[in-house]
């Protein structure tokens, strides 16, 4: 009896190999990369079926869909990498609608010459993050571009989830008097990444806060229900950008208490050293919520009862303001605006 021919003659050399242009050319090499790395790691029936799309049943409620691109540098940083980040980030964008995330797609743009071992580590980290979150990566795409036309690897993920009946969170829903809740310390992710940038290396024990927040969100929804006005994860641009976006959408202002905003001492120190403001530094595992005043305490207690909301705090409130200013009472006792960031935050010259 003839044994069936193996689909690929040689095993993918993950330990020593590099991505070359054939891995994106649509032939056998690409099929092997997809089968031996992506499908093997993400491991679910829908992906294994090998179709160009995934078919799944739709449950009751409103569907939400989101997509995001990940171009982080460096690719590996304390507390995570681009892979786990691409899963957490998109899960969180789904979860901020109060939704339960169900499925993800993943699209890779890989630079010729990229180490297969690094790719395998990233894909393994994505698989673990998705598994931990109970979310399946059910479809994807792979492209390889010539050396110099990308920065290692770029990942795009799209997420789909379902919002429970009766819940409608939206950035235009904040009303004067509402309370602002923050799920924990700010700036951890941005400082962890910066600490490993080639030209900015400094010693720190700060790990990225990269995490999937849908479990925390579910607890908040259970405690606050329709009294939750909106939720946002303050990623790039930090808490400042997020609150300015909400202020613009809702036509309101914010008044925050600086001393109520949790910041780790190490993040505080790194920001001082670099001349940065933690309010503008990126987070990947935090959320800010606006809640009707009479339910704020209950939602805060629910947050503090979840491991990802242990340091949650009430940091301020929504105020009527035609100028839509985000204002802060400084710990020093003065007042200031927390404005949009102009370009990047840059370390001071002197």
């Amino acid at each position: 009896m003839n044994r069936p021919e193996k689909p690929f003659r040689r095993k993918l050399d993950i330990r020593n190999g590099r991505v070359d242009l054939s891995h994106g050319a649509g032939g056998r090499a690409m099929a092997q990369l997809v089968a031996d790395l992506f499908v093997a790691a993400f491991d679910n029936e829908m992906l294994s079926a090998g179709n160009d799309q995934a078919a799944f049943d739709v449950s009751e409620g409103r569907m939400v869909m989101t997509t995001d691109g990940y171009v982080v540098s460096p690719l590996f940083f304390p507390g995570g990498d681009i892979g786990s980040l691409a899963v957490h980030g998109t899960i969180n964008d789904v979860a901020m609608a109060g939704a339960r995330p169900l499925y993800l797609s993943a699209s890779f743009i890989i630079e010729e010459g990229f180490l297969l071992s690094d790719l395998a580590q990233i894909v393994g980290s994505m698989a673990a993050a998705a598994r931990d979150a109970g979310v399946a990566i059910v479809t994807g795409d792979t492209k390889v571009v010539e050396r110099g036309k990308a920065d290692g690897v770029f990942i795009s993920t799209t997420g789909i989830g379902v919002v429970p009946e009766g819940l409608s969170l939206s950035a235009d829903a904040a009303r004067p008097g509402d309370k602002v809740l923050l799920s924990g310390t700010i700036g951890d992710h941005g400082i962890a990444v910066m600490s490993k940038r080639e030209n900015l290396t400094f010693e720190t024990e700060i790990l990225s806060d990269s995490a999937a927040l849908h479990g925390l969100v579910a607890d908040m929804v259970a405690a606050g229900g329709p009294c939750l006005r909106l939720m946002r994860d303050p990623t790039r641009g930090g808490l400042a950008a997020t609150l300015n976006e909400v202020a613009a959408s809702s036509g309101v202002g914010f008044r925050l208490e600086e001393s109520a905003i949790p910041v780790r001492p190490q993040v505080h120190a790194a920001c001082e050293f670099l001349g940065l403001d933690p309010l503008y530094v990126a987070n990947e595992g935090k959320l800010v919520a606006v809640v009707a005043p009479d339910h704020a305490e209950a939602v805060l207690a629910a947050m503090q009862g979840h491991p990802l909301g242990r340091d949650a705090a009430l940091i301020g409130e929504v105020v009527a303001d035609d100028n839509r200013f985000v204002q802060l009472t400084t710990a020093f006792g003065g007042g200031r605006i927390v404005d949009w960031l102009s370009g990047d935050q840059l370390p001071r010259i002197c």
Binding site: N199, L200, S259, P265, H268, A269, E272, D277, N323, F325, Q327, T329, T330, A331, F332, G333, G334, G335, R336, I337, D339, S342, G343, D344, L346, P347, R348, I349, C350
Partner: protein
């Protein structure tokens, strides 16, 4: 955080503010210029103005190195960066500073110029070592604080035998600028603002010490208090200035004793003295030509001087005529007095240099303080 939180203590601030309120005389007002952009930033970011009595006014000075760089120097850097042989290394703040005809280093970079953002002179040196085929030019700006690292980089390049590293030197000096604010031909054109005393620069003074201000305080009869960049430092400096004014004194006092000595940092000063010498004159944005207010490389370091290697010709260029940066840098006008402020000139689309750097008076007022003007309008209506 140790050594920082102590200087941002809200309870201490209240006590100090109350002491200032008791010290000020009801029959007069006080105007103090904080020379340094770092102080302007601290005052705005921590809301220090909210703690001062109504008759104490802070006047923002020209102490931001990005703000005082004239358009012609930015144009020169852009011309240099467009030379296909050149890699121009620059601090990030400079990227968005407008040159002539709507140009900037950021636009030149997008058009293909090889411009790299660096965080230190040593980053630029590393690039020169790694890429021997490129002419690496470090765009050096800043007051006395940033000058020693440039001197050290030049000496290090010499030791390493690097022939592809040069410096486009735009280092400027604080004492001559402070003097120019009170006494220069431009005062006749722009007018002058009453200043009762100066909050002197912190980092600069860690290098040059307090002595260089003694002549100034004596000659112009203006008190100077060297102060740190923490908000309590600024409040303390204001308290000390109020005391000097009330007592009719005009001395140099040092609030920042934890870092500044009368003589400064002798090692840093020696490094600077070895590599640099005074320029006869240098154009400052907003202050015009200021005699002996900047540095250039000494002849023995000419091999590292970009101006010599690339035969750079300085072509002065006018500011946007509607921009009031000149008067704002001198404290004669406030940011909101400028027609462009907040209309066409914002941190996203800076027309003038005061709006570019986060330490510029306009950027600080726009970013942190414009709610005060809005509150005043609301109250009036």
């Amino acid at each position: 955080m140790k050594f920082v939180d102590e200087f941002r203590d809200g309870a201490l601030a209240k006590k100090l503010a109350s002491r200032i309120a008791q010290s000020v005389r009801a029959d007069r007002d006080y105007a103090f210029m904080e020379f340094c952009g770092g102080h302007t930033h601290a005052i705005s970011r921590y809301g220090v103005e909210d703690l001062l009595p109504a008759n104490v006014r802070m006047v923002h000075g020209p102490g931001c190195p990005v703000c005082v760089l004239p358009v012609g120097r930015i144009d020169t850097a852009i011309r240099l960066a467009r030379d296909p042989r050149v890699t121009l290394c620059t601090y990030g703040d400079l990227m968005r500073v407008p040159g002539s005809n709507g140009t900037s280093l950021m636009k030149a970079k997008a058009e293909g110029a090889d411009i790299r953002m660096v965080y230190s002179t040593l980053d630029a040196l590393r690039i020169a070592e790694a890429e021997p085929g490129r002419e690496v030019v470090f765009f050096a700006i800043g007051f006395e604080t940033t000058t020693p690292p440039t001197a050290i980089a030049i000496k290090l390049a010499g030791k390493k035998g690097l022939t592809n590293f040069t410096v486009f030197c735009n280092h400027v000096l604080t004492p001559s600028a402070i003097q120019n604010i009170l006494e220069s031909p431009d005062v006749r054109d722009l007018g002058t603002v009453r200043i009762d005393g100066f909050v002197g620069p912190a980092h600069v003074s860690t290098v040059i010490g307090t002595e260089p201000y003694a002549f100034f305080a004596e000659e112009f009869e203006k008190p100077v208090v060297i102060a740190g960049f923490e908000p309590l430092d600024v409040l303390q400096a204001v308290a000390m200035l109020v005391d000097q004014v009330n007592e009719g004194r005009h001395e140099v006092e040092n609030e920042y004793t934890r870092a500044v000595t009368p003589e400064g940092n002798e090692v840093a000063k020696a490094e600077v003295a070895e590599v640099f010498e005074l320029r006869r004159s240098f154009e400052w944005r907003g202050l015009g030509e200021v005699p002996y207010s900047a540095l250039k490389l000494k002849a023995k370091y000419a091999d590292f001087d970009a101006e010599a290697r690339f035969d750079l010709e300085y072509i002065p260029a006018d500011d946007n005529p509607a921009c009031d940066c000149g008067a704002i840098l001198r404290g004669v006008k406030e940011p909101a007095d400028c027609k462009l402020f907040g209309t066409v000139c914002t941190p996203e689309t800076p027309m003038g240099s005061c709006m570019v750097s986060s330490e510029g008076a306009c950027a600080a007022h726009w970013t942190y303080g414009r709610f005060r003007a809005a509150s005043r309008v609301k109250r009036a209506s």
